[in-house]
Amino acid sequence: MADLMSRSAPRALVLRAAGTNCDLETVHALELAGAEVESIHVNALSRDPSILDGVGLVAFPGGFTFGDDVASGAVLAHIIEQRLRPQLQRFVDRGGLVIGICNGFQVLVRLGLLPGGEGRGALLWNQSGRFEDRWVYLNSGSEESPWFAPGERYFMPVAHSEGRFEWFPDQPGQEFPTEQVAFSYCNEDQSVASYPDDPNGSHRSIAGLISADGKVLGMMPHPERFVRPEHHPSWMRIRPDGAIPLEEQLPVPLGLSIFRRAVDHLKTHQSDLVGEGGTR
């Protein structure tokens, strides 16, 4: 039975490097979501990039890779660019799912794996000029995706200093493609937010981006920090008896739902993945 279970569980890789912080909780979230997860150092993956062929999902967790020296995610993006770019591109091309959270999002943008790549987007210093840790409401994007339910309201913490997305279009006035906005900051009632509910002053309040095919997600907020109801910052106010609420009593879905949806997607689409074998 255990063997059967593990064979049906989609495999996920959490890629870490010097200064990655959120790898363990990202592993935990993916495991709770039903994936079989391996955490791997970028140096180990560089030695054997074929490991990518055996997985369906790669997560770039949050943290301060290489201290965010020079710019957030800059050194790790540079390393991946030099060592793993073609393999990563092949992974994406064959339908693998990628999530970059916080620092991982910054890495994906610098790598050009998300809209705004090719030098048209950047994650810059928060308008407030400082690091901010706070819970924020998010509107999810308009299109169906393996990662989120469209038009839903989510609630998650952000914790970053370089999360302001700016858009540098090829032609002046060119609009950012709405369908590639994965999440945008909003008020509790889903209306347009200003600081601090929009914690960084992003272009169009963008909190996360998604690739045109919906497979690659990058987001500043941390879904892996909201995988149990008591992670809700004011859970004590939800039930009249003051006990920890059940998941269905929460006013918002768990951050875990994002990982669940992706893992469920892999379960139902595993056969679509070109090159993923049960041979490894």
């Binding site: 010097a18 912080n21 909780e25 301060f64 201290g67 308008q127 700016e166 920090r225």
Partner: protein, 968 residues
């Protein structure tokens, strides 16, 4: 042949550049208020020195990596002297002094090696160029500005008034090299005067009796000590390393202590003898069990003197140091929580009231917070508990406490060293930074401290420590290491000395990886360069350790081995530079009996408050830094990382109301909770140090209970911060404090498991030595089973009864008293019978879900607590009547004391709770109700002494610290 380039990164393509708060802050400090239209910017500069063959890679590196975003561009110029820039603005270039840690440079070199540069021949230094356009500048103004943008201890700078060539000191210049080989210190025939002179001139901080003991030891051995031997003894015998005052003999009136700490605080722990205390007072942190398999370690340290001189580096290396304590507990605990507690002078202290050579408290506060933020956040450890206090007594000597909680399995708690084990240094390279930190911390801060002690102040490199952490957790889990300790004060000398305390060791100092050439053996031995650990490794396991370290990009070196002959042998290029008996080193310090004067009760000096009504007093207290919202600080710390938090420092309807502590789910499965809180009753120390200790223990535990903890499994840490302990009156305060702490711990059944003292917190101002106010920080950690049960301090609904739990407070020792010029008197007494009974009952009510909200009464008393509860209520107000509490209105509103809470109770539960309270004998008074109107009303009989909108009060409470960290 090497080439040098200056690469400047300009962010001028960013459509919405964020404000440069540091530059604005510095401008305001020199009397400028920048306008919207002023062109203020700070541009990173990278100085590159590369081999000629890599010249054609520079432009691509600069544009694609160093700029690397459509928001900015790189300007590359050969050399380090820049021709006049076309922006023609006044500018200041600030760079680190040679030898000071520059973490960014290491990351750039890493990236260069990926790009094909011959990185072994590359050097990088960084700087920042501040541009000031639109503001009238002159030479002296620019100099003043520069000294606020940089800190002379670690930085150097040049200012340029615009349109001129920009020449900076060569960032690649090297240190002069130091003497090598064996240096002898003539001691055998030295007179007592000469002994004192040797100690003072060498910065050894040894007193005459200690120097005499060393002289006697070397007379017996028939030779002179070498420099490195004397330094090793000074490090080992320093107050910082062996706590000689608190573990020494003291005659205190009729009481005699052979070892003060042993006979007070440790004694209480021994007496309680709790099976879940796994490691107490013997390792780098105390360890208690969560269940049979898992445990948590906890340690709090201070880093006061470095933070006074260079707050950013001092606080950063403070948090870095205590994290290494966690890594060095057993064979390594995983850090899961940081705490921080600061004491500063008020941020509005007038410049003329600052002692010469000290930084303004506002600058200290901003720097310390930035240091904790940048180090803690980069380490990926939530900083989720702490406090900030303000008192004029800290004007020359702030306090910076940093704490760390670690998670570990029981099997990793014990460690041992076997003769023949390798001594392996792991982590950062050794440099000249941080020489004499241990002995420096035991000295008075003077006007010249900045000059004298610059070596003791460092900039941390959190990335290095994070890599060490990641590697160590793998090494621990594969059981590759027999013992571990951190390099803290005293560097290798303390780390190896401690580990080889029983065995001895042979160390080849030339094998330590160095940041730059030219370090003498003594410097290598005592350097306190950050981010280093020492392992004791069975030789057969070395290869696997090296494999892990290589993947994690951590350097290591085998320095030597542990021995079985009780000798500490130090070699440098095979020359024996020192040989010490570990027995003498660890047991040869002469003990002296000190005499202390038991403190007398202080006469009451009345606070000058007659001209203020209760409303004004409440507003003053809410705006005071001690009470004001710490949100602007808390938000800058990542207090969520690792995904374990179940109670955050801020919660409530708008997630900005203050909780009493924090809680986390250590195993991420809801099976247990770790609750952490602290207590520090600042005003009480000068009134009655015994009561201060009891009150601090009580406050820490009340906070702990209010945060979901339980007395059943709760442990404490003590952190003393005191002034000149050579003064018998001040020593007397410490004795009373120790007695109080032990008595309170026994009363509650909560053992102290670890602690640290920081003595000699004195500073010299105008020729007079001044001591800080006495401080005992008590930190509490509690383990509970199952999901967290906690009401939170935020009001939940209108229509509840508000119940005051506990006895009356008193004005003596309260914030209101000392804030308004009062002092002395008899504080509200700690009640050792009532205390535990009350906390157990409150815990039962929480578990039974009978409290809707609960807040402890601390600084500012009942009135402040009521307001804070309303701040989280999402519009719920309070209508209270304190008439039943007595005639002294100010005492009822603002008095402070132990054992006090304010609770919100559903009407249907009031009867039950009242009966419980009566049954166990707990004072309980219903003082009013929560109401629909968002107003705080407090009546005293017919007099509505406080009536104010909750929103208005909250604004007052929020804006004090917001003004220090503007967001636009």
């Amino acid at each position: 042949m090497s080439l040098t380039y200056t690469v400047t990164i300009l962010h001028d393509l960013d459509p919405n550049p964020s404000p440069d708060h540091d530059l604005r802050e510095a401008l305001m400090a020199v009397g400028c208020s920048p306008d919207e239209g002023d062109l203020l910017a700070s541009d990173p500069i990278f100085y590159l020195r590369i081999p000629e063959q890599d010249a054609d890679r520079v432009e691509a590196l600069a544009q694609q990596f160093l700029a690397g975003s459509p928001a900015c561009r790189a300007v590359v110029h050969p050399g380090v002297t820049m021709p006049p820039r076309d922006d023609d603005q006044a500018a200041i270039v600030v760079q680190r002094r040679p030898g000071v840690m520059d973490p960014v440079s290491q990351s750039v070199i890493h990236a260069m090696s990926e790009s094909g540069f011959v990185s072994s021949q590359c050097q990088v230094r960084t700087a920042r160029r501040y541009r000031i356009g639109g503001i009238e500048t002159n030479v002296s103004m620019l100099d003043g500005l520069a000294s606020r943008l940089g800190n002379g201890i670690v930085d150097e700078w040049r200012s340029f008034s615009g349109g001129e060539e920009e020449q900076v000191p060569d960032p690649f210049r090297e240190f002069p090299s130091h003497s090598q080989g064996r240096v002898e210190i003539p001691l055998i025939e030295a007179s007592d005067e000469e002994l004192v002179a040797i100690s003072v001139d060498g910065g050894l901080s040894l007193d005459l009796a200690e120097m005499q003991a060393i002289r006697q030891h070397y007379i017996e051995r028939g030779r002179e000590p070498s420099e490195i031997e004397l330094e090793t003894i000074a490090q080992t015998w320093s107050e910082h390393c062996c706590h000689k005052t608190l573990t020494g003999a003291i005659r205190h009136g009729d009481l005699r202590y052979g070892n003060l700490l042993q006979e007070t605080i440790f004694q209480a722990t021994r007496q309680l003898d709790l099976p879940w205390c796994w490691s107490i007072f013997r390792d780098n942190a105390g360890v208690i069990g969560i269940d049979e398999e898992w445990g948590v370690s906890f340690k709090v340290e201070t880093h006061n003197h470095p933070s006074a001189l260079e707050p950013y580096g001092g606080a950063g290396t403070g948090i870095g140091g205590v994290i290494r304590d966690t890594l060095g507990t057993g064979v390594g605990a995983r850090p899961i929580l940081n705490t921080d507690v600061f004491c500063f002078a008020p941020t509005d202290t007038a410049a003329e009231n600052l002692p010469t050579g000290t930084l303004h408290p506002r600058r200290l506060l901003r720097g310390v917070v930035a240091g904790v933020r940048d180090y803690g956040n980069r380490m990926g450890i939530p900083t989720a508990n702490g406090a900030i206090h303000f008192h004029p007594g800290f004007v020359g000597n702030p306090l910076v406490f940093c704490g760390s909680v670690g998670l570990m399995r029981r099997e990793h708690v014990d460690k041992e060293v076997h003769p023949g084990d390798l001594v392996v240094a792991v982590g950062g390279k050794t440099g000249r930074d941080g020489i004499h930190g241990a002995t420096f911390s035991s000295r008075e801060l003077t006007e010249d401290s900045e000059q004298d002690s610059s070596g003791a102040v460092q900039i941390g490199n959190p990335l290095e420590e994070k890599k060490v952490l990641d590697a160590m957790m793998r090494i621990r889990d594969e059981n590759l290491c027999r013992s571990v300790t951190d390099c803290g004060a005293g560097g290798f000398s303390s780390a190896v000395g401690e580990m080889g305390e029983e065995t001895g060791a042979e160390i080849h100092l030339d094998r330590a990886p160095l940041k730059y050439p030219g370090l003498g053996p003594t410097e290598v031995w005592i350097s306190e360069a950050q981010e280093r650990m020492v392992f004791a490794v069975e030789p057969s396991k070395l290869a696997r350790i090296q494999e892990i370290l290589l993947e994690e990009e951590v350097e290591c070196a085998v320095l030597g081995e542990f021995r079985d002959d009780g000798k500490l042998r130090l070699l440098h290029h095979d020359l024996l530079v020192g040989e010490l008996d570990v027995k003498f080193l660890h047991g040869g310090r002469p003990s002296q009996e000190r005499v202390s004067i038991p403190p007398e009760p202080k006469p009451l000096i009345k606070a000058e408050v007659d001209h203020l009504d209760a409303q004004q007093l409440l507003c003053t207290l809410l705006a005071d830094g001690n009470v004001a919202s710490k949100e602007p600080v808390i938000r800058q710390y990542d207090h969520e990382v690792q995904g374990r938090m179940t109670l955050r420092p801020l919660a409530g309807a708008d997630r900005d109301a203050p909780m009493d502590g924090c809680a986390l789910d250590p195993l991420r499965d809801g099976s247990h909770q770790v609750v952490v809180s602290c207590g520090l009753t600042l005003g009480m120390g000068e009134v009655d140090p015994y009561q201060m200790a009891c009150h601090s223990v009580d406050e820490a535990l009340r906070n702990c209970i209010a945060s979901g903890g339980s007395l059943e499994r709760a442990a404490l840490l003590d952190n003393y911060a005191w002034g000149d302990v050579k003064d018998p009156a001040i020593l007397g305060q410490i004795v009373e404090c120790s007695r109080g702490a032990a008595d309170a711990a026994l009363a509650y059944g909560t053992p102290f498991i670890s602690g640290k003292d920081s003595l000699h917190n004195t500073y010299r101002a105008g020729g007079v030595s001044r001591s800080i106010p006495p401080v005992l920080l008590v930190s509490a950690i509690s383990i509970t089973k199952g999901p967290l049960r906690v009401p939170g301090s935020d009001l939940k609904e209108a229509g509840s009864s508000m119940m005051l739990i506990g006895p009356e407070g008193a004005i003596p020792g309260s914030l209101m008293q000392w804030l308004h010029g009062g002092g002395g008197g008899i504080p509200a007494p700690f009640d050792r019978q009532l205390g535990p009974r009350l906390l157990q009952q409150v815990r039962q009510w929480i578990v039974a879900g009978q409290l809707r909200s609960l807040h402890d009464l601390s600084d500012g008393g009942l009135a402040v607590a009521a307001a804070e509860m309303a701040f989280g209520g999402g519009g719920v107000g309070l209508d209270l009547d304190i008439g039943a509490l007595g005639d002294d209105r100010n005492r009822s509103l603002f008095g402070e004391g132990p054992h006090r809470f304010l609770a919100e109770v559903r009407d249907t539960d009031v009867e039950r709770i009242t009966a419980d309270a009566e049954a166990v004998g707990i004072p309980l008074t219903c003082i009013g109700r929560s109401v629909v109107e968002p107003t705080l009303i407090i009546r005293h009989g017919l007099d509505r002494c406080i009536e104010s909108g909750v929103g208005e009060l909250k604004q007052i409470w929020k804006r004090s610290l917001e003004a220090i960290w503007p967001t636009s």
